[in-house]
């Protein structure tokens, strides 16, 4: 296969990777905050947070993407995303962060709530503060429990990044499709190899991480 084709595909895949990395960077902490919101003792906060999570998880990511890209321009004077490439990418990143933060928050919430209350109480009777209990007692156990569901979600994220082409981000499948239009099918298959390699690497990484946490059991 042509070196030019490979480099075009790689260029597209770089955008997928960027979107993937930025989504993780922002959605992980945001997801943790949302999970605290949904577990809040203040009923109002918990209720609002849970409703937001329900709405976001109930909508297709694609719909969210289109709404975030088009709605501000139709409602306001002009689109905040402008007409430049960077604007389209920002819109995609925001949609992905919102969507995945909600998914991650549910995983965090499930993980935190699955830790027996006896762990918190053991920390309390030993005179620990709330934050000491969270960071020194609970967190590690939560991490161990959420590695498998997180791995799944993160692998889905890698593949979801291809949706960004629907608001004209030049990601790898968009590049490949240009060749299909010219009657070349091989680039489409080759783009699949990029994903297989990337996800293969991630799978190894998650496996390694799981083994790292094998020293204890919850």
């Amino acid at each position: 296969m042509d070196l030019i084709i490979v480099s075009r595909l790689a260029e597209g895949f770089f955008l997928n990777c960027k979107l993937f990395a930025l989504t993780l960077l922002f959605a992980l902490p945001l997801g943790l905050i949302i999970s605290f919101g949904s577990m809040s003792k203040v009923k109002g906060i918990a209720y609002i947070t849970k409703t937001i999570v329900w709405v976001i998880r109930g909508l297709p990511l694609l719909l969210l993407l289109l709404i975030i890209y088009y709605a501000p321009g139709l409602i306001g004077e002009s689109s905040p995303w402008g007409t430049r490439v960077s604007g389209r990418f920002t819109a995609a990143t925001i949609a992905f962060v919102i969507n995945y933060a909600c998914y991650f928050s549910e995983i965090f919430r499930g993980g935190i709530q699955s830790i027996p209350v006896g762990q918190t109480e053991a920390g309390q009777v030993l005179g620990m503060t709330k934050s000491q209990i969270f960071f020194k007692v609970i967190l590690m156990q939560v991490i161990k429990r959420i590695v498998p569901p997180m791995s799944n979600e993160i692998i889905t994220l890698v593949k979801d990044t291809t949706l960004a082409r629907l608001i004209a981000n030049k990601e790898i499948l968009m590049m490949a499709q240009e060749y299909v239009a010219r009657g070349l099918i091989v680039p489409l298959f080759s783009s699949g190899l990029f994903f297989l390699a990337f996800i293969g690497g991630l799978t190894l990484l998650f496996g390694w991480f799981e083994r790292k946490l094998d020293y204890f059991r919850v």
Partner: protein
Amino acid sequence: MAVLEVENIRKEFGKTVVLRDVSFELEQGHAIAIIGSSGSGKTTLLRCLNFLERPDGGIIRVKGEVLFDANDPATHGEAEIRKKRLHFGMVFQAFNLFPQYTALHNVTLASELLAKERYKGSKDWRAEIRDIENKALSILEQMGLADKINLYPYQLSGGQQQRVAIARALALQPDILCFDEPTSALDPELTGEVLRVIRSLAEKHTTMAIVTHEMAFARDVADEVIFLDNGLIVERGKAKDVIDNPQEERTQQFLARYTQD
């Protein structure tokens, strides 16, 4: 001198009154056994002492100092309660060891965090680590766990886990050590090793409040026994007297179930 004075403790969950009016004292160096049928309020009583539950009425005094007074909101502050908890140690029925730490680290963790706090962010607390560790090692040795210090909870039997939990509570040198049915989650062949450890603590005059269903143990090890029924102390007295010779009908009925089988 009474190290612990509990006066008129009342606790309700919604409409159910769990502790009606509980008062007792505990002398320094004594062990008190709390017996009673399931649901009588034994766990709730210990949880009130450890501030895991807030009593709706009553006063808790340790060494003469009022730690909690239901009528005095000044004694209810979150930050002070954390400090006051350190007067009490708690050994749970389900051990509740921290699974990600070794036996030794389970015992040292809280002391390390407290030392860290005392030094307010300066790194000097590390100097205390060795002391904390040596103390923990000697307690674990007393518990017969010298060869288990580097094992994680899942690598230990239930009896060994409970002994680590006892060591963890002892490490903070509480004035009163509370046990909530420490052997109820154990296979019968493992209860002996835990009871032996508690017995040796009693011989060293550790002040203890022990909720237990092991009547023979309560009789031999405790100085006093409290029989709790429906949130009230129905009978209280010298351990041997209450268990061998209960005066109240409810106590007799309760104890009869243990002597039948």
